[in-house]
Amino acid sequence: MLEKQVHTNLENKYDLIVGLEIHVQTNTSSKMFCSCPTGYFQEEPNTHVCPVCLGLPGALPIPNKRAIELCILMGLALNCDIDNEIHFDRKHYFYPDLPKGYQISQYKRPICSDGYIETTSGTRIDIERIHQEEDVAKSTHHVEKTTGREYSLIDYNKSGVSLIEIVTKPCIRTAKDAKDFATEIRKIARYLGISDADMEKGQMRCEPNISLQEKDKWEYKDGQILPIGDYKLNPKVEIKNIGSITAVEKSIQYEVKRLTKELDEGKEIKQQTRGWNAEKNITEYQRTKETADDYRYMPEPDIPVIEVSDADVERISEELVELPVERMKRYIRELGLSEYSAEVISSSRESAEYFEKLYERLKKDLEEKEAALEASNWLMGPVFAIGNLDVGIEDLALLILAFKKGRITKNKAEELLNQSVKENKDLSKELEEVIRQKENLINNLDEIVREVIKKNTKAVEDYRGGKQATLGFLVGQVMQATKGAADPNEVRDILIRELKE
């Protein structure tokens, strides 16, 4: 809400309308329509290709069951309706990264439609559709040194890798909501094992569609932006080449500024595609966009209609787990975590599951809220600092409980944790050893105190002569001798008692 107000204050003449298209490569072992292996990252070029993904004449596509399961799984996670028939279509355009001259995609009947999710800030985002398609090849552009002729090098390893496209309705009103939505999609993809969704590796790509409309001249109805009266809607600008989640936000902010200026100057805005330049933090004109007619969509005759039964959807839905935003809300509501901690911990399934196991274990010995707070603090502090979640739950719980019972200090506990990780030692054994040593020391505390008095005759004289401050020095000496294991107050009492004699 706050974000929205800030935005309207900045641009009080126009409203920002954003829809997002997110492509996600789904995590299958083989390609969408052939059995070539998918893992092409850093592989030799053109080694994961066959007649199907090279578009050789006569080759026929054979759909991958797992890929469609993952598409449906994403649809279920985003509360979509799942179609009971799957229809593929051909989308035609000519480009060297598309060897068949068409991409197999879905046009009028996407597998998933009409969904929604809530972002961490509580904004609802409506989903128009999720459809299944295939990725294109990777091309790099070059210039021949001798002739100045332009050419491209093509690696078809990526051609035909399973790709889903998630399309929102034009319901996003701020750059931050767009970023939050992309973040949520990435989290969900990872939670459910749908994709690693690494934007730098191109496993996830975001394309915002942006327009500015005059205030009170439009309405959002049935998932569409409609003009009010004789107002003519401003055309959309699509941004491509966004390589990170932050660039989603930044590129939209940039476009708001650019479009505001154009509109203020009375310029006519053309529907166009612009590319994000991450070095200059600007968008650059690429081309005017082709319309759906230009793609000459037609039903894919080589793939039969695939019948999806309720039982199929039911079986796939068994892979669903509690999703990040639901988890976050539960941590705040039931476990009393701060909004920040709840968001960080729930952001990956691994950390959320680790947290919950640690909490369950601590709950056996601590109050519920206290167990949750300790689990959260230890996870977000020392455990995250280690950089992995390999520390055993039971070991860590015993360490935390030893600290909670005052058997070791927090510093000592963290030191033990780090040391056992670094030196690959058994944390519980180390902990036992430290506690045993400490108890030995404490049992001999009287003796240690007497020893310190014997060794520091000067300080003892000063104290007896009325210099109270010297007591602090003597306490320090005892603490040092016990390696910090003793309770300083107790040491003080013994010292006073011993020094009276």
């Binding site: 054979i62 069951k65 990264d97 491209s152």
Partner: protein, 97 residues
């Protein structure tokens, strides 16, 4: 039936001379007109002729061996370090997926 030959040629990455455009436009219009007879058939109650397959019979996600790089490159007129090399007017103005 009107046809925008120039636009269609552009979508197919063909460059036509003015004369070719003038020759092809009426030809294509005639083709479309003959085919348009089909538009008159009422298909509103007819299901598209499509074979059907139950979901569970789809291909399992098991990778198999691909072609060797030499085999892939063999058909390409130009290549470079295992990449296929292409030239031409095919770039620009066109949407990538």
């Amino acid at each position: 039936m009107k046809i925008d030959t120039k636009h269609i040629a552009k979508l197919s990455r063909l460059s036509l001379t003015k004369k070719e455009e003038e020759t092809f436009t009426p030809q294509m219009e005639t083709i479309l007109e003959s085919a348009s007879v089909l538009q008159e058939v009422d298909t509103s109650k007819i299901q598209p002729m499509k074979t059907r397959i139950p979901f569970k019979e789809l291909r399992e996600d098991i990778p198999e061996r691909s072609l060797k790089q030499e085999e892939v490159i063999r058909n390409a007129p130009h290549s470079e370090n295992g990449y296929i090399r292409v030239y031409g007017e095919i770039f620009g103005g066109i949407e990538e997926s």
